[in-house]
């Protein structure tokens, strides 16, 4: 299904909102830097860095790919691990 608006129209409409969200993100990362304590080994920091790489790349489906960065892996053999028996 096509988007009724053109790309320039979408950019005009959303530029200030996107700008504001980027500034929130930048300020949040600055806040972490200014605070005391060590978080270098916190895996969430790596997730944020990966997500930023997705945003700066030119590939489509950014939202889906960012979601997957913050998702636990799925094991297709989970039922064997749980020893579950289906009824139907």
């Amino acid at each position: 299904m096509p988007i009724p608006l053109t790309a320039p129209q979408v950019l005009d409409r959303e530029f200030l909102e996107l700008r504001a969200k980027l500034l929130e993100l930048a300020a949040g990362l600055d806040r972490i830097d200014r605070a005391s304590g060590d978080i270098e080994t916190d895996p969430r920091l790596g997730q944020i860095e990966q997500a930023l790489e997705v945003l700066s790349g030119g590939e489509p489906d950014r939202a889906e790919r960012v979601q997957m960065i913050f998702s636990l892996a799925f094991d297709a053999k989970w039922r064997e691990t749980f020893e579950l028996r289906q009824r139907g």
Partner: protein, 268 residues
């Protein structure tokens, strides 16, 4: 515009919210059984909750001309107590024939554990044996993708389940495709922080089409907005979409899905 909120927990909302919903065009709501914010201690606690859902809540909604429907289950957060879950599942049939009961829900997973999966399968068995429709909760945040895939595995492995009578709720960008491709209905939940925003829900309508797609507020006792569906309607209009497409998502699709339930007696 008239609309239906297919997932909202009105027991957690004040009566003024019903009035606001009515003023904004809400004609009907469906309310799945869920977690009350604390674990209930006995099957009688659930029996009282089901009475509230099937007796008092339809009456309260009716004061404002809103038709109220409901779904029954023990939710995933309380499913770690398998013994209590089995007692509740055994009690649910007492209520299945009541007016306004649409089926079993919202069942699902929370932390994707073995006990949650066991109780999910036992709910599925009840739904299959009693020919009930099913409404499914998918987990939050980092657990969503894994849990949604586990849920789809369990649904697709049960040959008794009619996929066109199952709604998989709280889909986001990384889970909507497998749900729709497998033939299920998909619900997008509009929350202020987690889940989905109105703008992202519009994106998903544009990317996947309006077929078998619903949008809801899941308004409850936590941070949530019971008027989120009108926010979605406005976002669709601002994006330039037709009134007929918007109406399909917020009114005709819920009707089409709910009409498969014998407990759905809707007066337009």
């Amino acid at each position: 515009m008239d609309y239906i909120d297919p997932h909202i927990h009105m027991v957690s909302r004040v009566t003024d919210d019903y009035e606001t919903l009515a003023k904004m065009g809400c004609r009907a709501v469906s309310e799945p059984a869920f977690w009350a914010g604390f674990d209930r201690g006995s099957v009688d606690g659930f029996r009282d909750y089901f009475r509230q859902l099937t007796e008092f809540e339809p009456k309260r909604a009716g004061w404002y001309g809103i038709q109220h429907y409901t779904w029954l289950c023990i939710n995933a957060k309380e499913a770690e107590n398998v013994k209590l879950s089995r007692e509740v599942i055994a009690m649910i049939p007492e209520f299945l024939g009541r007016p306004g009961v649409l089926g079993i829900g919202e069942i699902g997973l929370n932390k994707n554990t073995r006990n949650e999966s066991t109780v999910f399968l036992e709910h599925l068995d009840l739904a299959a044996k009693s020919n009930e429709q099913i409404l499914i909760h998918t987990p939050h945040l980092e657990d969503k993708y894994k849990g949604t895939r586990m849920i789809l595995d369990m649904l697709c492995d049960d040959r008794r389940i009619d996929r066109g009578r199952v709604l998989v709720d709280h889909v986001e960008e990384h889970t909507i495709r497998p749900v729709l491709e497998a033939g299920f209905w998909a619900g997008m939940t509009l929350y202020p922080v987690s889940k989905c925003t109105p703008q992202r829900a519009v994106d998903m309508v544009e990317m996947y089409g309006a077929e078998r797609l619903l949008v809801n507020s899941a308004g409850d006792w936590g941070p949530s907005k019971p008027t989120a569906v009108p926010d979605f309607i406005l976002a669709m209009r601002l994006r330039g979409h037709s009134e007929s497409l918007i109406r399909q998502v917020v009114y005709e699709n819920p009707l089409k899905f709910f009409r498969q339930s014998r407990g759905f007696q809707f007066t337009p």
